[in-house]
Amino acid sequence: MSDNRDIIVKNLSYTYPDGTPALKDVCFEITKGENVALVGQNGAGKSTLLLHLNGVIENNNGCITIVGKQLDKKNVPDIRKKVGVVFQDPDDQLFMSTVFDDVAFGPINMGFSEETVKERVKKSLQKVGLSGFEERCPHHLSFGEKKRISVATVLSMTPDILLLDEPTSNLDPGGRRNIIETLKTLDSTKIIASHDIESLLEICDNAILMDKGRVVATGRSEDILTDIELLNSHGLEAPSIVKMLGDDVIPLLRDNFDSSQIKRHEKTIKKAISKKRKKEIFCK
């Protein structure tokens, strides 16, 4: 295919039925295999945007193209096969009476054989660190466990495009690490909406910054997510590690801060600190 753009959004606007404007003239393009961070204040419109890309919200105000197909009533079923969503609230995601049934729901619908389905369920549960939870009722789990199962229900479908709304919220740091590592190994095109900028820096190549329903900046995540002034001016904050080290932090982050790495990176860190200091002095 000559066109390797997986997602094209053009002039998308949306107002909720109660009159709250949520998206205003949103435009962007995402190429195959790209990992995109979606950041913005509470209420910026991130979830609303993701709900559009899977056809959950119907809207004729704008134009969305997914893997070459325009998103409309006719194409929605086809597109949903390609797009997996993890909702922000895990209660929106889980509805079967056992964890197994819930994770198997997607693959069964896609028509896989029993063998394959079982295989897929097992693998996905492993990836989120909840092997052995097959027979539990998803409804009777801790909040974080529910969140992990939500991720598993989508992983089991290995969709071409993954939309993740706050995949790491309410996860314990270990679980967060797991999800991050899993996401890094997946080839799918991904959009990740999150307030956990540190994780985003680790996973994503590019970033989209939203404010009050508009896209206000797009670019490489190293540039956008470490730009303290830009973030501040849109109600966000850089993670403290970035505040301290600036964009020198990226290689450290991607190496996951093993104590041994600290040693290896000592030079970078010192350099970063003195650079910062100079800037301080220079600014005054």
């Binding site: 949903r80 096969k81 929106d92 509805f95 079967m96 009476s97 729901f105 997607g106 619908n109 479908m157």
Partner: protein
């Protein structure tokens, strides 16, 4: 996530919006019962027109009322379609080979007039106050405590249930791809409803706790307190007198008199 628009127009300003809720409910109930007890089709027409005037005064948007019509409309539609053909009586005219009876049309009209009047009256009565206020009003009427508590919980839970239902639907549809057999679909539907019930049940329980932990002790408190004013008394009297006069018109046969006078 629908909120059913229950309190949507409780914030407007009209003579009914600042009517004492207790008096308002009683007066309107009286009017409703009085209209249902009417049989003279001409008086019913007068009552119907007066109902429309009351609705207009309440400033509730007509579009909103029309949307709600679909529920009654179903029943009325059935009545209108069926009765004229099935009620035996003097023939009025034919549609195709079906005969339409005089008394059928009359009955259908009477039934629809009553049904529509009542449904219209509910708007100035209830859409002009917040539902919480209605619940408080019930407390004033000495309705059994258990019932009042149930109503206020039901009111809360309606939203819980419909929210949970829509959420379940949403999650199913986002992963529901490919073709399924009938059996599978029925299985899914009972699952969805069952899960909605369980979720609502648990969510409802947690919300109850949240209410308790914020000082809820069985009655919904809001910032309003009721006061009867002179204006309320006047409004009351108007509605009560009107309800009674509808029947006075029938009893004294004023309308028939008019015809007699005319023919003379």
């Amino acid at each position: 996530m629908t909120h059913f628009d229950i309190d949507k127009y409780a914030y407007l300003k009209s003579p009914f919006h600042n009517f004492d809720p207790r008096a308002k409910v009683l007066c309107f109930l009286l009017l409703i019962f009085s209209i249902v007890l009417l049989n003279d089709i001409r008086v019913l027409l007068i009552a119907f027109i007066s109902t429309i005037i009351l609705v207009l005064i309440s400033k509730i948007p007509l579009l909103f009322i029309l949307k709600r019509f679909k529920w009654v409309a179903l029943f009325i539609f059935a009545v209108l379609v069926v009765l004229p053909f099935t009620v035996p009586g003097e023939n009025a005219f034919y549609i195709g080979f079906l005969s339409v009876s005089h008394s059928g049309i009359l009955l259908a009209t009477r039934v629809s007039l009553k049904a529509f009047s009542v449904m219209l009256l509910i708007f100035p009565m209830l859409s002009t106050m917040k539902f919480v206020i209605f619940i408080k009003t019930l407390e004033h009427f000495k309705i059994p405590d258990k019932l009042v508590q149930m109503i206020s919980f039901i009111y809360r839970y309606i939203f819980v249930v419909s929210n949970e239902f829509q959420r379940t639907l949403r999650s199913v549809s986002s992963r529901n791809v490919g073709k399924k057999t009938r059996i599978f679909r029925h299985h899914i539907l009972s699952n969805i409803i069952g899960m909605t019930l369980v979720r609502s049940y648990e969510r409802g329980e947690r919300i109850r706790i949240a209410m308790l932990s914020r000082g809820y002790n069985g009655n919904m408190k809001t910032l309003n307190s009721f006061r009867m004013t002179k204006k309320d008394l006047i409004k009351c009297s108007i509605i009560i007198i009107w309800s009674i006069s509808l029947h006075v018109i029938v009893l004294t046969k004023i309308l028939d008199l008019a015809r007699v006078v005319n023919s003379v």
